[in-house]
Amino acid sequence: MKKSLKTSIVLIVLFFATDLVVFNCLKRIDEKVLTGQGVGKVNHFLSLKDSVNLLVFGSSRALHHVNPKVLDDNSYNMGADGKRLGYSAALISSLNKNEQIILVHIDPKSIYNSEYKGEDILGLLNVTKRNNDIDDFIFENFPKEIYLSKIFKCYVYNGKVLSLIKNFLTPKYNYEGYIGYDPIIPSRGQKQIFKNLIDKTDFSAFKYDGISKLPNPLIDKFINEIKEKCDKNNSKLVFFTSPSLIKNEKNLLLKTKEYFKYNEIQYFDFSSFIDISDINNWKDFTHLSGKGADLFSKELSSRLKQN
């Protein structure tokens, strides 16, 4: 057993030493990467968040639908594929500049989705070593992950390594001119797939599971934290819902409007702004093409000016 103990000690020491070395190498690379959705975009955001006038947050429906240039020349779209409100709330917690316009995309059904646990925040684990606000935000919601990341340093780069290295070696675009907006230009294959889907879809049959009567407490908490931060910074906060072919029930829309009204938060619902009459405006049921996004951005801009 002594031999095994010796082997175990060698292994443990070697592991933690390697973990530290690999982590530091990745951290150095991370600090230099400013392109790519995985890591670079957040770094880019952190570098300019306190200098822009307008910021857009949300999921892919923010990322691909809102051209921030149409809204303000000095702006940035921090929407990210697959990310939800927790991710946006964590990023907003790091804002210091006063009197910004903060636009946050939200889908009404996500407010009442009881299944959401906020795991998307963990996509920002690698930033915790560099930004105390985000570190505190994640610790408040996922203390276990922060403890784990203190033991296993590399843990914060889980699932990010290849994109990090790829963007370090061959950046896909020049970040200096990048405003965070990625319009979708559907390929021929994607158009075909979407057309096939449209043909076989009974739009009236869409139903959502997991919708509860009350707002998800975590979402409710995040929304209130976002509001508090914006109030503190004297920033204008607007939640909005972008166009989608999957329609929410009227009751849900009404509930959502009442919810924001009760919380004294401005809310714009554009879910029915663009319909299916021109299929070229769409990439799929919930995502506009670049053409549709242009239409939507202009409408969002005009609504913002009105309010």
């Binding site: 057993m1 592991f15 994109s163 790829k166 294959g189 797939i193």
Partner: protein
């Protein structure tokens, strides 16, 4: 509890230290600890189903002793044991399937039959532990095994947590003697076990779960994807199921080794097979040998002429398919394997040496048959085959490119490691002990760092559903 959960990563070290550092290292106390730990492990999923394991344990313990003692009622007690175990399986796993199939069958002839199904959950691992206890009774009946007198030992055998929920299906003749003996700490066994656990975790959480994230969308909605995407999903699924299940077996075997037990090998590089027959000698070995010893041979095996041999092969594979799940897809999957095994024998297609091209052909055949295993319905399986043989080969749908890159990286490492094992003719079960301390530590650390950097969020093991 599942292996790839934080709960297990806390649970196992506690069990491990209590087990090896008990003040009085008595076998009985160690076995009681293992039994309690196993019930905690299983109860973590749903404690209500512990009663099923306990019931199965008590019945087979009592009947095992009765079969051994009885002079003229041996057969009766054996049948009672088998009926009890199959009864549990039939109720919890197949009842609804048989009812629904009967209703569908009647409707073909225009009869509207109204039979209600049961609203029951399939208890995790029921197919594994019922087969294990059945083999115990059969071995005693055949005179190949003496029943254990100790109830604690027998209960530990049935519920031993490393293999309780997804195998390997350990034979009583291998495991019970080890449970009864004093366990010794062996340094090489520790290295072998630890290394195999690491490989298992890598295979499961990096490779299999990563692939699952890429292909699930395609298998769930095959009708919206082109042929290239479907072909990609078909090939990747072959790797997913292999690395998922072999990964589970590796963790199970490695965990047992750390507790001083040697399980039989369950996978032996199945995708290096050059025939379907060889594939089944390398894939899920504990199940295929179980089916051989307790079904194929009792049916007559190859002793009653060539035609009956084909029949026996077919029945064995058909029931083997049904064992995997209560769906016609699994039956068809098993039946196709049965037919191919028969054809190989009939046309003498079994090559004697390794041949790369035959290897590739067998891989693709097996991959195509997995379609029935993975598809959500028989209709989907047919649709996938139609699509695969269509001309709809455009660029495949790859989803998130970073996820795909991670999958390909993990897959490359996993296949590279398998190629080393194959070329050097080394068994994973004894790989760790072949390395000196430094190499062992360096390779282990490499795997650990890769797991930390590339693991995909936890999902259940595919074989849990069986």
């Amino acid at each position: 509890m599942i292996f790839n959960s934080l709960a297990f990563l806390i649970f196992f070290p506690i069990v491990f230290f209590c087990y090896w550092f008990l003040p009085r290292k008595q076998v009985r106390i160690q076995n009681i600890l293992l039994l309690v730990a196993s019930y905690v492990f299983y109860g973590w999923w749903d404690w209500r189903f512990l009663s099923l394991i306990a019931f199965s344990t008590i019945v087979d313990y009592v009947l095992g002793l009765k079969i051994d003692k009885s002079e003229n009622k041996k057969k009766f007690f054996l049948v009672l044991s088998i009926m009890t175990n199959l009864g549990l399986l039939a109720t919890f796993k197949y009842f609804n399937f048989f009812i629904e199939s009967w209703v569908d069958f009647c409707s073909i002839f225009g009869y509207e039959v109204s039979l209600s199904t049961l609203n029951i959950i399939l208890p995790v691992g029921i197919s594994f532990y019922t087969f294990q206890t059945m083999s115990y009774s059969i071995d005693i009946y055949r005179g190949e095994l003496k029943p254990t007198r100790s109830f604690i030992n027998f209960a530990t055998f049935v519920s031993f947590f490393p293999q309780l929920v997804a195998g390997p299906i350990e034979r009583a003749s291998n495991l019970i003697p080890q449970i009864e003996e004093q366990r010794k700490w062996i340094h090489n066994r520790f290295k072998d076990g630890f290394f195999q656990i690491l490989i298992g975790f890598f295979r499961k959480v990096v490779v299999a779960d990563g692939i699952g994230a890429v292909i699930d969308g395609i298998y769930n909605e095959p009708d919206i994807h082109n042929a290239s995407s479907i072909l990609m999903a078909v090939v990747l699924y072959s790797f997913q199921i292999y690395f998922d299940f072999s990964g589970y077996s590796d963790i199970a075997i490695g965990t047992a080794k750390l507790l001083g037990f040697d399980f039989k090998r369950n996978f032996n590089l199945p995708y290096f097979s050059v025939s379907i027959t060889e594939f089944w000698r390398r894939w899920h070995i504990s199940l295929s040998t179980w089916l051989r010893d307790y079904l194929y041979i009792p049916l007559g095996g190859n002793r009653k002429g060539i035609v009956l041999q084909y029949r026996n092969l077919f029945i064995t594979m058909l029931l083997g398919g049904l064992w995997h799940g209560s769906s016609w897809n699994f039956v068809v999957w098993g039946a196709i394997h049965g037919i191919l095994l028969g054809l190989e024998k009939k046309f003498n297609l079994l090559p004697k040496n390794y041949n790369f091209f035959k290897n590739i052909i067998i891989f693709f055949i097996v991959s195509l048959i997995w379609v029935f295993f993975r598809s959500l319905s028989f209709h989907d399986s047919i649709f996938i085959f139609n699509k695969l043989f269509s001309e709809d080969y455009l660029l495949p749908y790859v989803g998130n490119i970073n996820s795909l890159m991670t999958v390909l990286y993990g897959l490359f490492l996993a296949i590279f490691f398998d190629v080393i094992l194959f070329r050097r003719n080394i068994h994973l079960e004894s790989f760790g002990s072949k390395l000196n301390t430094l190499s062992f530590s360096i390779i282990s650390v490499f795997i650990l760092i890769n797991i930390v950097l590339f693991y995909s969020s936890s999902s259940n093991f595919i074989y849990f559903q069986f």
